[in-house]
């Protein structure tokens, strides 16, 4: 029954019994109902994709429809996040409640896979079973490389290939690339300035090893607040015997 939403529900029970070793008899009962959920969440999961921490300063919204018996909702967000419940009607939304889900400023970077737990409370103060909304995505720094990784596929050893990478701010904030280096002698990183004033780099990779191989370009970036961080762009290939 749990998890049904407004679905007609029918269950039949059949008892098989014998009294005093006599002929077996049966009795049947049926239960019919319509399951009305206490809460409906829209969207049922917050999938925000890959976003920078600056882009997630704007809260994500979950609209919550509650049935008439619900007087309040308790909300629990995963670590690094806050969820604030407000009345949706007060803000001209059709939903009964709104949940504003926001990342804390000191929240973690990386993949996010958590749940926001909404616990309805009826008008008599009784807590009902909670409903969960997924919170799924990845949070990156506000300067990213496009592409994030370079894949050359299967390449014969002895050859070289060029790919370009551009560093951008997803929220269009100014930043500075203080250095661009490579730890491998097979990979050369060169800035290209002939097209615009952006941060465009050529990564020239020489294929030297057999099988899965990787070399990385490392960029030191300074954002508009003066904070410095490293951005690593791996360049991968699968080396084959040369011609």
């Amino acid at each position: 029954v749990r998890g049904s939403e407004g679905e007609p529900f029918l269950t039949r029970l059949r008892a098989l019994y014998s009294a005093g070793g006599q002929v077996q008899k049966t009795a049947e009962w049926s239960l019919k109902a319509v399951i009305v959920p206490a809460l409906r969440l829209n969207p049922p999961a917050l999938r925000f994709g890959v976003r920078s921490d600056r882009q997630l300063e704007v809260p994500q919204i979950v609209r919550i429809e509650a049935n008439d018996t619900i007087g309040a909702i308790d909300c629990q967000a995963p670590p690094g996040w806050t969820a604030e419940i407000t009345s949706g009607q007060a803000e001209s939304h059709p939903a009964d409640f709104l949940a504003k889900v926001k990342r804390k400023p000191d929240g973690n970077f990386g993949l996010i896979s958590g749940v926001i737990r909404f616990c309805p409370v009826d008008r008599e103060g009784k807590r009902l079973p909670p409903k969960e909304a997924g919170l799924i995505g990845e949070i990156v720094r506000d300067v990213v490389a496009n592409p994030r990784e370079i894949h050359h596929g299967r390449r014969p050893c002895g050859m070289t290939a060029n790919e370009t990478v551009r560093l951008v701010s997803p929220s269009n904030r100014p930043f500075l690339v203080k250095s661009a280096t490579s730890r491998s002698s097979d990979l050369q990183v060169t800035r290209v300035q002939e097209y615009d004033k952006g941060w465009l780099y050529t990564l020239q990779l020489r294929f030297t090893g057999l099988g899965e191989q990787e070399a990385s370009a490392e960029f030191t970036v300074q954002d508009e607040d003066g904070e410095e961080f490293k951005l690593v762009v791996p360049a991968r290939y699968y080396g084959l015997q040369g011609p």
Binding site: R47, G49, I136, G137, E149, H151, Y195, L200
Partner: protein
């Protein structure tokens, strides 16, 4: 191991099948089923979000002009696919996981396939060998799919497994999923870029990300469709009438599929793809398969008989009807006979396979 099929003549994929086993075993490769439309169908992704404004008028105008100049298109192309050891078992969905490493060694598969487009009508003849999972059996398989605006069908002349009878599927929706696969995507995106029923990278839905890169020395603009979990990107060559030089599929920021395309100038339709390489990666960035495609025959605006865009299933074919969710067997007269599984939801392993394919390497 090399393992491959030849293209079929127009009306029947029944003839001229050649399966070659060549040299020592090397790689394996599954059929290429594009994950995006399937992921969307499976409800795995949300509706698209635009990144920037609409696609620039210049790009849309070039794509529109190319589409309008190509009324009909017939392309025969050769696929050579190298599949890494264990790639198929690694990419298999949980229910399809084999108990052994599939393939046990690097395997090369070859086939010659054909794509036919006439306006909005399509016919795909796919002769690429495929893997029967979870058994892990490499099998010759032929598959013809058509869509003509009013209906869509798929036909497996040799069935869906060893010793199987011919199988047909009448799809619930009048559109071909095969034409939106990744392997022919350079063709469909170049010549039907505005048709979302044919192109998996519909230009009208794509938004410029504002990022430009040099690809082989040509300045290319990135256009994307952002489904949150899944991002499709097409790098349009500003020096070649905005043809897609690179197509990419990423999930959760990880590159899963990438095609790099080379072009030549054609007198009728401008820049046309001549070859491309599709690479498929695991979520851990290891290469699973690599497909090199070479165009063998390319014909534009030749009349195409209408019957090529429909399939009359021959007698003895097991037909699964996605519209009625019933499975029938055609009698020797070619009419529907008894229900094999009356009323059961059995739209065909074709659908099952497509959806399962979203979790891994496809087909």
């Amino acid at each position: 191991m090399k393992f491959g099929n030849r293209a079929e003549p127009r009306q029947g994929a029944e003839k001229r099948a050649v399966m070659r086993v060549i040299k020592s075993p090397k790689y394996l490769s599954p059929r290429v089923v594009l994950a995006i439309p399937l992921a969307i169908a499976a409800g795995l992704v949300a509706s698209p979000r635009g990144v920037g404004g609409p696609a620039p008028e210049a790009a849309l105008a070039a794509i529109r002009a190319r589409q309008e100049s190509v009324k009909t298109l017939m392309v025969e192309y050769k696929q050579t696919e190298v599949v890494a050891k264990g790639a198929k078992s690694e990419g298999a969905a949980p229910l399809m996981k084999p108990t052994t490493i599939v393939p046990p060694e690097e395997t090369t598969l070859e086939s010659v396939d054909r794509l036919l487009i006439d306006g909005e009508k399509v016919r795909c003849e796919d002769n690429h060998p495929s893997w029967l999972m979870p058994q892990g059996i490499l099998q010759e398989q032929k598959r013809v799919s058509v869509a003509n605006g009013s209906g869509a069908k798929v036909f497996f002349p040799t069935g869906l497994g060893p010793g199987a009878t011919p199988t047909g599927v009448i799809q619930r929706e009048p559109r071909s999923l095969d034409v939106k696969a990744f392997t022919p995507a350079p063709l469909t995106t170049t010549f039907r870029g505005l048709d979302p029923m044919i192109s998996a990278f519909p230009a009208a839905d794509m938004k410029p990300s504002g990022v430009t890169l040099l690809i082989d020395g040509a300045l290319c603009e990135e256009h994307v469709i952002d489904y949150s979990d899944v991002i499709l990107s097409s790098w349009l060559d500003t020096t070649k009438d905005y043809v897609p030089r690179r197509l990419r599929l990423q999930r959760q920021g990880r590159l899963l599929e990438q095609a790099d395309v080379t072009y030549r100038r054609h007198e009728t339709c401008g820049w046309s793809p001549t070859s491309w390489v599709c690479n498929y990666y695991s979520g851990h960035a290891t290469i699973l398969r690599s497909t090199s495609v070479q165009v063998l025959d390319f014909r534009v605006n030749e009349p195409q008989p209408a019957e090529q865009f429909d399939i009359r299933f021959p007698p003895g074919t097991t037909v699964r009807d996605g519209r009625t969710l019933k499975t029938n067997e055609l009698s020797p007269m070619g009419t529907c006979g008894k229900y094999l599984v009356p009323g059961r939801c059995y739209p065909g392993s074709y659908h099952s396979r497509a959806i399962l394919g979203t979790g891994g390497t496809g087909g």
